[in-house]
């Protein structure tokens, strides 16, 4: 049985950025001042040896976190152990400081739709997901972090709040939490949650990582688009989270319309400035 608790292993990592194809060569050549990189593992399944060797080269200079999108943790279908084997292989090769997945489902009843769908927040779901997270952790041989997702709908069946839901699953399974600050902000706007209350209700010893990203205003909702700079309201909520939790490794997510590396480095510096001014080591 695993039991994530960050009080015994506070990380001194500050902000990191996603490692994406267009920047690989530049990073190897210039070795920029970045705290760490996040790898999306799904992009590397069946990757050629040359790409993996490039990643290993970067890994020798920077810590990595591995983040997945395809596990479908909340699905009623069986876990896909062929997929998990690929993730474990990558994890063994790249030795990340954290491995994370989304608290969501992407398909069920034999259909996979490659999106991150929200879950009904019920006792049944808590037990179902916690058991699956335990299976994954047993398979990997270590704890994972589960991430709160953005949502555009909720379910009348839900019996608890979102922070209560993710906390219960983390406690029952022994996993940690990857708290996506942008997703909390988006859900506060799309679904009417109280963002600060959300932050204050998640136990700080369970948080292993935080995410920041930019969204896109659409007609009637905000889309979690990851294609622009972090919004001011999200920075405000991040500052509140730093005040509540202290220093936590924080990722700047930018997955679409990927900009020059310098823009990502600048966003990471914006996060670091806040960490330095708010957190007392």
């Amino acid at each position: 049985m695993f039991k994530f608790d960050n009080t015994s292993r506070r990380s001194n990592l500050k902000s990191g950025i996603g490692l994406r194809d267009p920047h690989l060569e530049q990073i190897i050549e210039e070795k920029p001042n970045i705290g760490w990189f996040e790898i999306i593992t799904d992009n590397l399944i069946n990757a050629d040896e040359k790409t993996l060797q490039m990643l290993e080269k970067i890994r020798s200079d920077y810590p990595f976190s591995l983040h997945s999108v395809g596990t479908s943790i909340g699905s009623v279908d069986d876990l896909n152990f062929d997929y998990l084997k690929e993730l474990r292989k990558l994890s063994e090769r790249l030795e990340p400081f954290s491995v994370s997945e989304h608290l969501c489902w992407s398909g069920a009843h034999g259909v996979h739709l490659h999106d991150l769908f929200p879950l009904p927040m019920t006792e049944e779901t808590v037990l179902h997901v916690a058991e699956r997270v335990e299976q994954i952790q047993e398979f990997f041989g270590h704890e994972i972090l589960i991430e709160n997702v953005s949502a555009y709908t909720d379910f009348v069946e839900s019996e608890m709040s979102e922070p209560e839901f993710i906390t219960q699953i983390a406690r029952k399974s022994g996993s940690g939490i990857l708290l996506d600050i942008n997703n909390i902000f988006i859900n506060s706007k799309n679904l009417g949650l109280d963002a600060k209350k959300y932050v204050s209700e998640v136990p700080k010893n369970l948080i292993g990582e935080m995410h920041l990203a930019g969204g896109e205003q659409r007609e009637g909702y905000i889309l979690d688009s990851h294609n622009c700079r972090v919004w001011d309201e999200v920075w405000d909520l991040y500052e509140y989270a730093l005040g509540s939790y202290g220093q936590i490794p924080t990722l700047i997510e930018w997955d679409n319309d990927i900009p020059e590396l310098s823009v990502l480095i600048d966003e990471a510096a914006n996060a670091n400035r806040r960490i330095d001014s708010i957190c007392v080591i």
Binding site: D42, I45, A47, G74, H112, D115, F117, P120, R218
Partner: protein, 244 residues
Amino acid sequence: MRDLASIQKDFLNGVLKENKNKSLSVYRDLVVTNHLSALKDVYPVCLRIVGEKYFSYLSEIYLEKRPTNEPDLNVYGHDFSDFLLNEITEREELSELGYLSEVTEFEWNIYSASRKDFVPNSPEEIISKIVSNENVDVIFILNPSLSLSVFNYPIIEIWKEHQNEEVGKIELINSKNYVVVWKHNKDVVYQNIDENEFNFLNLLSQKKSFNELSEIYSDKEKELENFIATSINNGWIVDIEIIV
């Protein structure tokens, strides 16, 4: 109260079909866009042939009729060609595009070959292995990226035409076209081959051993020798396996 399984079933039905539920329509739009984009990456020539608007329409129908259970989006669209084969027979607007399914099969073969990663032996290494094992039976290992297709249309020419290459006038006469696609060094290569070469490669894909091949080609020894030599030089055979 619905249980988790029922909630997920209802949700998927709502996403896969056009619906009036606004909150689910956000998810439907995201799913449709994501899968369309994956298909566009694999099938650029099909996209050029039918146009952006009709391709999007086909992509949506494909998603509804053949949703995948594969978590890796990189292999989404593997049976798009087979799907089109059915659509061509059912849709009048596609009746003039009988070759569309074959074009997409060819595009899938190119895409799949490009994603294969392996370290091939050089022809000299393979020949040396054969010579040093001349007293035992062996199986010839095919290039893992290699695919074989029999097309009813001149697919390579049609494909080239949509790459803006000068190919001259294409006659869409029905005749068998045997096509091999494979990755050689770092490039994907394609070639029309004749029926005999095709049949030989087919036998290799069935893992026929050298002794079995010799029996099949008992009255055409020279031909077998040539096929093996060509296959090694072209990078179709990449290794041998000794039968114990």
